[in-house]
């Protein structure tokens, strides 16, 4: 499978575009030794000759969460021991998603040389982007651990649910990265648009506030917000409680729909992407 990801079969009378797209996705996902290395090298490179390395992101997220958390828990009269863990776990998930989306937009341009030499799997490149950001996420987890100890959250079995939750989050990030790379290559206007949408999403998604604070029509901000459900399947276990069944169902639904969409788009446009970059 490894060599398949670097040498996707060519289209022919016996090989439909769907088959090619499927090979691209499966071989790409399985080529973890290659995207693992690409992502790992990129992380190390980005922080070469710095003292704290990737922990700089951690420091900046930590400062953001601490100052905002302390200020807002005071403004809104909330117990910082409840508000800080909530804000931190939500911010960590959002940071992961938003940085993957931003970097995925450049995913294919930045690899132009590679894409013009090898019939390489686009999924592999998207996975490298996701993996690079997952590594940063694991650095940021240290903030959560400190806040967790400060707030004295009891350890529960439900916390184990963070594993399937996080896996689902990464699976979704992967198809989003595959699609965004392609769309941004074709339409250069999408890049700034993604940045703007992400920025607004930070405020419209229950991260700083919780959905029970909403009333009336505004409740749609939580109910119909896919980002809210995606974040919940990771955030709730981190806070020691099992996510509601509804969150799981919606997230699984998004995952399936997203991958089917990706398969369709890739089977239709995969052969065009190289002309766009």
């Amino acid at each position: 499978m490894q060599s398949l990801a670097l040498n996707i079969p060519q289209r022919g009378p016996t090989r439909s575009p769907h088959y090619i797209a499927l090979i691209d996705i499966l071989a790409g996902l399985l080529a973890f030794n290659i995207w693992g290395r690409l992502g790992w090298r990129a992380t190390k490179r980005r922080y070469r000759r710095t003292v704290f390395g990737p922990f700089w992101t951690t420091v900046s997220v930590a400062l953001f969460v601490l100052t905002l958390g302390l200020l807002w828990s005071n403004l809104w009269n909330r117990d910082p021991k409840v508000y800080l863990p909530y804000l931190t776990s939500g911010m960590l998930c959002w940071t992961l998603i938003s940085s993957i989306c931003t970097e995925a937009c450049f995913g294919y341009f930045n690899n132009e040389m590679l894409l013009k030499q090898l019939r390489i799997s686009y999924t592999l490149l998207a996975c490298a982007t996701v993996w690079r950001n997952v590594i940063v996420f694991f650095h940021n987890i240290i903030i959560y651990v400190l806040i967790f100890i400060y707030a004295g959250i009891p350890i529960t079995w439900a916390m184990l649910l963070v594993i399937p939750g996080f896996a689902l989050l990464c699976l979704n990030a992967s198809w989003i990265a595959i699609l965004l790379g392609a769309v941004c290559a074709r339409y250069r206007d999408i890049l700034p648009l993604v940045g703007t949408i992400l920025q607004i999403s930070l405020f419209l998604t229950p991260i700083f506030w919780s959905p029970d604070q909403l009333s009336g029509r505004m409740t749609v901000l939580a109910e119909y917000n896919p980002l809210y459900h995606l974040i919940s399947v990771v955030r709730d276990p981190l806070l020691g409680r099992a996510p509601e069944l509804l969150h799981w169902l919606i997230v699984i639904g998004i995952t399936l729909a997203g991958w089917v969409l990706t398969l369709e788009v890739m089977s239709k446009f995969r052969h065009r992407i190289v002309y766009w970059i």
Binding site: R41, M113, K116, Q117, L118, R119, D189, H271, Y275
Partner: protein, 277 residues
């Protein structure tokens, strides 16, 4: 048995300009009228790089693709590699394709020589074990010794070429695609490089080399294909095709400054050349 078969292949490049941005797609739909009329007058702009090419390359063939700048040599190699899929016609390939258009896919200046050997090796389709096995050979050929432990940023241009070349030529290809830019540094290295490329070619079942140098193709190939404006003008034993190429060069030199007449002339030359063989 390795084999490449092209039937009536046409390769076209779309030219994307501002007129095809997202804004026009959106407004084209909303506003219709004016903008659509503008879009309709100019159809999608494409450059035809390969025009109705049919050929078969068999096991054991060492093919040189020759022609002027813009004749379609590199495009043809990339069609063989599956990078550009034909817009019309079919292509079928038996055997694993190893394209070497650029010696070092994934090379990063911030990584050390050793790190780059692993990354590039993986991307060129080698396994870790294979890279491990070939490492002494790559080390020896690159002649970089202690420099391999330093970041590639510290290398001179010549040293970078040596490193890329040493890695790229370590593969065991089945169908080898070479672009002429696989350049070599100083004269002594050029000789070593030629020997190493010869060994690489001997390990492959099919070799295709694109170049505008008649001398190079004369040395390396037993069959040559002459391209002009995306069409196959001649295909046969190297000696005959090169003779024709040299004749064509003499004929066309005065017209080179006038592109319009050049196109006309070559159009007349093409059928004559084909019958001459």
């Amino acid at each position: 048995m390795a084999e490449i078969v092209l039937k009536n292949v046409v390769a076209e490049f779309p030219v994307y300009g501002s007129q095809l941005s997202l804004r026009n797609v959106l407004f084209g739909r909303v506003v219709g009228g004016v903008l659509r009329r503008q879009n309709d007058t100019g159809k999608r702009v494409v450059v035809r790089a390969l025009d109705n090419v049919s050929l078969t390359i068999n096991h054991g063939d060492q093919v040189g693709i020759i022609g002027h700048n813009g004749a379609g040599k590199s495009t043809m190699l990339r069609v063989f590699a599956g990078i550009y899929e034909p817009s019309q016609g079919t292509i079928s390939i038996e055997g694993r394709v190893s394209p070497l258009f650029n010696t070092s896919p994934g090379l990063d200046l911030d990584d050390t020589g050793y790190e780059n050997i692993v990354t590039c090796g993986l991307l060129l389709g080698m396994t870790r074990a294979e890279i491990e096995r070939k490492l002494p050979e790559i080390e020896a050929f690159s002649e970089l010794s202690d420099y391999l432990a330093l970041p590639a940023r510290t290398y001179s241009t010549g040293m970078l070429v040596r490193l890329g070349f040493a890695i790229a030529t370590a593969i065991d290809p089945e169908i080898l695609l070479l672009d002429e830019e696989l350049g070599a540094g100083d004269a002594r290295f050029a000789m070593q490089a030629a020997r190493r490329v010869k060994a690489l070619i001997d390990r492959s079942s099919i070799m295709v080399l694109a170049s505008h140098s008649a001398e190079l193709i004369g040395q390396m190939c037993n069959r040559a294909i002459l391209l002009d404006h995306g069409r196959v003008v001649a295909d046969g034993p190297t000696k005959d095709v090169l003779e024709l190429y040299n004749r064509m060069n003499k004929d066309e030199r005065p017209a080179a400054t006038l592109p319009a007449t050049q196109a006309e002339e070559s159009g007349q030359n093409a059928p004559a050349a084909a019958t001459a063989l």
